[in-house]
Symmetry: C2
Subunit: 339 residues, 2 copies
């Protein structure tokens, strides 16, 4: 059916919907390559077994244009986004559910590529997609495909990551360069006349979080997605009442990301990353976390980018020239929408 | 903020999004009336504790026009839809996540009414909404609001409801009249020049499923949503290879539903219900289930509507005049889209 397009009948509960679920979703999510005995398209709900430990539950929605871009697609984002929310909470993800809202007229070949990407990325992250639902949106009432995933994970004993652990004196670490995802999607979408070999950083952060989640002195982790590193800093400042001091020259930004941002007037600190971790750690643990991260392929450019202090609840950044400026909370949209 | 409209900035991760989440979502989902300590908008994932028993996980997506209709709205559907999938599997629902895809320009007053409806219906069903996410769709790329919910439930010991329990000789019971939801939404949307006091049947089916889920002889339950009673029968026939014989005159259909269907040429057996249960039971258990259901307010019109037989895997219906006709699997869309 891959030469066909999605019609309203693919969402009506009848024969065409059943065939779409069997031939596209179930076929790739439980295939010869991907063993997934939990997925039972005859059942209203999947039976799952969880290991002992603290159970976590979360969800995320995904809209991105274009749906395929260098380094990823909306399917890989949908798997990593929810798994990464569990990962930065210190958990291992076990089970995902998948919702697809598909616009009438969408090519089934595209849908099939995305479902294959979902299956491959779920396998790589060690999660099973155990239940799903599909709705078809009338033509003109959807931007192609919107996805939502919900995930269940379990924290190993001894992991106690939470916002309220954060203290004045803590250091702010990032696991890699910021802004790659934002710029890669922007360049893939907009006719700026610019080209580059930039790829999205979209990836599982599990190797990064598993490597450090049980360390003494690790206080909090978050993945800097919508709103970027600056927004994570604002969230921390608002929740704790503490001041965030970023050190601009220490923040890793790839040259092509910096160039594109300078030309277009964007600040990479507000651009989404989809495969990075911000860790807040006690001062004495900072070097240890950086050393561990730098041994991992996705942590080679990890850096200590600032500190948390008593003071006023705001985010400021020390610039290259030694001055300080306030990083404002993102208000109206200065960025092209990429998520 | 209820006089305002949703803008793209409500989805950018910054200040406007934070205020929307605090003032609309968190405010109503964890209010003075609705205690919901699991909802922590500072966390990437919610910590949940589950009672012992078989754990079930499921998800559902929701699109409906109009978003508010007699007897319900997309918010009540989003709570009941996922809770009902857990309920017909024999479980008690405990936790939900909520995804909202909101079109730019949507009125915040409407959104607020829907979030209040979600909160009220979740409370009535005994579930906590513990995590959520919001995405804003550019104007023209969404039909108002799309919702997705995922839910976790737990089956009490001794509940063993599954498709493979179904045997030749079983009876097919419905808990109430069919087609009310489909017709109510249709009349609320289309300018047919018809009016009636028909209300959607959208409701929790938990009272119906809890009352019978531990009975000997209960083999399977499903809620006849998209595609209606006819589609549930096809799903059973396809999965089991058995023949379904419906007895037309026994199927409860309210007079106004029948009238609207006759005028417009629809078959109520294919119309969605959102608060009914189809139960497949051993012949000797049928009367007992009906007796129990009929003591409940939502089960007063419960009926035995057919049997399951060896034969050919198809669905047939005996008509008022004693003839038999085949009910075909729904193919192209003969119905106005209501979900």
């Amino acid at each position: 059916m891959s030469g066909e397009k999605i019609s309203l009948a693919h969402g009506n509960g009848g024969k065409h919907m059943r065939e779409l679920i069997e031939n596209v979703f179930a076929r790739h999510l439980n295939s010869d390559h991907i063993e997934n005995p939990h997925l039972d398209t005859d059942a209203d709900a999947a039976t799952i077994e969880l290991p002992p430990g603290k159970t976590l539950f979360t969800t995320d929605g995904f809209i991105v244009q274009p749906m395929e871009f260098p380094g990823g697609d909306i399917g890989s984002l949908a798997v990593h986004g929810t798994c990464n929310d569990l990962a930065v909470s210190g958990a291992d993800p076990y089970f995902l559910t998948l919702n697809a809202f598909i616009e009438e007229g969408t090519s089934i070949a595209l849908l099939e590529r995305l479902v294959k990407s979902i299956a491959r990325n779920a396998k790589d992250s060690g999660v099973s997609i155990v239940a799903g639902d599909t709705k078809v949106l009338p033509r003109g009432q959807g931007g192609g495909i919107y996805l939502a995933t919900a995930g269940i994970g379990v924290c190993p004993p001894g992991v106690t990551i939470k916002m309220s652990n954060i203290q004045a004196g803590d250091h702010i670490l990032v696991s890699g360069p910021v802004g790659d995802h934002g710029v890669a999607v922007m360049l893939a979408r907009e006719a700026f006349g610019m080209r580059g070999d930039l790829k999205s950083d979209a990836a599982s952060v599990l190797p990064l979080t598993r490597a450090i989640r049980e360390l003494d002195g690790l206080h909090f982790m978050r993945d800097p997605t919508r709103g970027g590193l600056a927004t994570v800093c604002h969230e921390i400042s608002l929740a704790t009442g503490l001041q965030i001091n970023l050190h601009g020259p220490s923040i890793p930004v790839r040259d092509p990301v910096q160039s594109v941002c300078e030309i277009l007037g964007y600040d990479p600190l507000y651009l989404a990353c989809e495969g990075r971790v911000v860790a807040i750690v006690a001062a004495e643990a900072a070097e240890k976390v950086l050393t561990i991260w730098r041994t991992l392929p996705q942590g080679k450019m990890a850096a200590d980018v600032g500190t948390i202090e008593q003071g006023v609840a705001r985010v400021q950044i020390e610039t290259e020239l030694g001055g300080n400026r306030i990083l404002e909370e993102l208000e109206d949209d200065p960025l092209p929408r990429i998520c």
